[in-house]
Amino acid sequence: MSIEESVLKNDERILFRLRALYRAHGYTQYKMSKFEEYDLYARNKDFLVSDNVITFTDTNGKLMALKPDVTLSIIKNSKDGAGVRKVYYSENVYRVSGTSRAYREIMQTGLECVGEIDDYAITEVLMLAASSLARISPDYVLDISHLDIVSAVIDDLNVDGEARKALLAAVGEKNLHEIAELAQKAGAPAEKTEVLRRLVMLQGAPSTVIPTLQKLLQGKRALDAVNRLSRIVTALCKSGCGEKLRIDFSVINDMSYYNGIVFKGFVNGVPTGVLSGGQYDRLMRKMGKKSDAIGFAVYLDQLERLYEDGAKFDVDAVLLYDKDTDLDTLMQTVEGLTATGESVTAQRAIPEKMRYKRLLRLTESGVKVLEENA
């Protein structure tokens, strides 16, 4: 069966393209039920984008939740073993959306790799993230960061937990003045604070950022991370998505779950990020798994406004008939018109507020054009 892409809404069209992409790289679809025991989310509240969950009591008295997230369910059901388990999903999730502060149904698609995550696995996931963005719009940017670098630099400041949390938030906002203020208040050494400030200011193409990083940073942990980042982005650049990659340390995912490489994708025209992901070995440990993992999610609800498809008309043609019109002729005329690819609605009177390209009337002598709108 061939499906004409034009009948699909933008988010559906993108969804199909993404599915084809993930399938081609050997990812299998993960289908799950709409509900999950609430307990799973209660234990990992901070991992969720928003901690509000719609709950209800099931017939057996168990407290259930409408899925606010897919990753946790996938991890829960994953088994440690040889090889890397690669799955993709496209599911509706239910959560409070950032700007409206009300529950919304959000179409989300994404993929997860669970197992022994090596350089190849990370590079592949990043390549798929970039390709996903490219299928949404050619005008995209993929920001990549390495949490070990940020965390090594902040550890050097030697500040307490509260200040560390506030500093991380400021890094996420590119808030240089607040970083300076917080570090000073916490009594961090000025030259170390300057390293953090420069790290936050450092952004752009990997080819310019990586050499600067190698000069800026000290210590094995940070430099190991830079080397890994360098190996991976070099491979990515060779695979052809280099132009759109940017190193940006303001990509901060929750460090109690994420570690290593994290990334966020932006598309010109959508005000918030449309793709988000990273390595989340810490979450795996919390859930008692030995395997490592990496994955990302694409938020399709944001894409509705991306394309001005200029649908100025509800229908191509309104075909008017009256009570004396012969039923067979009417049926045949409608068939004939739809066969040309036009959308047609047969009506006795023009429906209120309907916008149409052509207004037709079926008379005994045939179809008459009454009105044409450009």
Partner: protein
């Protein structure tokens, strides 16, 4: 075209003056009329006046690429934006105020009247204090006088209003000033003009020091 949301009022005019000095002028903005949007195609910039508390919303949702908002608004609404620069103007502080002779009785739930519920809640949560928030939209100062609340959490600039109503600052929560904020996507795709503004502003700040 770079869209800039400015807060209506005195602060906004000051901010515009800084942007103008930074090379992003738009002469039509000074004409005295009721227009809300002003454009200078040559400089590639479009300004619009919005209610100060709405600037963050315009920027977060991408209707404006950058904007200037008070730290109070950013703390209250916690928008997902980049906070790029402290303009060091519109300075005041977020403070707890009460009647001069107020004694805080820790045995009772503290009744707090405020426009800034989120800030008040976070502040008292950090102290571990149980409070009852009374959200008001204006004339916060009369709440303790009429016995509606024990204390208020509000912006204090000079303290004159407080003094005239026999109130006094008990505690400063956080200093406030105007901040340059940017939409996260715009920052990626319009980085050149945004960074040019940022550079000019920080150079101007350095010169003043």
């Amino acid at each position: 075209m770079l869209n800039v949301a400015l807060p209506k009022g005195r602060l906004g005019e000051k901010v515009y003056a800084m942007f103008e000095a930074a090379g992003f002028e738009c002469p039509s903005i000074k004409e005295n009329n009721r227009k809300l949007i002003f454009e200078n195609e040559e400089a590639g910039v479009r300004y619009f006046w919005v209610k100060p508390s709405d600037v963050a919303i315009y920027v977060e949702r991408g209707a404006a690429d950058i904007g200037v908002a008070g730290k109070d608004i950013l703390l209250e609404y916690e928008p997902d934006v980049y906070e790029l620069f402290d303009l060091d103007i519109g300075k005041c502080r977020m403070a707890v105020a009460a009647k001069k002779d107020f004694r805080d009785d820790p045995q009772k739930t503290l009744r707090v009247a405020t426009k800034f519920s989120n800030i008040a809640r976070n502040y008292y949560a950090s102290l571990g204090r149980d409070i009852d928030i009374i959200h008001l939209n204006g004339s916060i100062e009369i709440a303790p006088i009429l016995g509606l609340s024990d204390v208020i959490v509000d912006i204090v600039e000079t303290g004159t209003t407080l003094k005239e109503n026999d109130l006094a600052v008990q505690e400063t929560i956080v200093p406030i000033s105007a901040r340059l904020i940017a939409n996260k996507t715009s920052y990626k795709f319009k980085s050149e003009p945004i960074e040019a503004i940022l550079r000019s502003l920080s150079n101007m700040a350095k010169e003043q020091k």
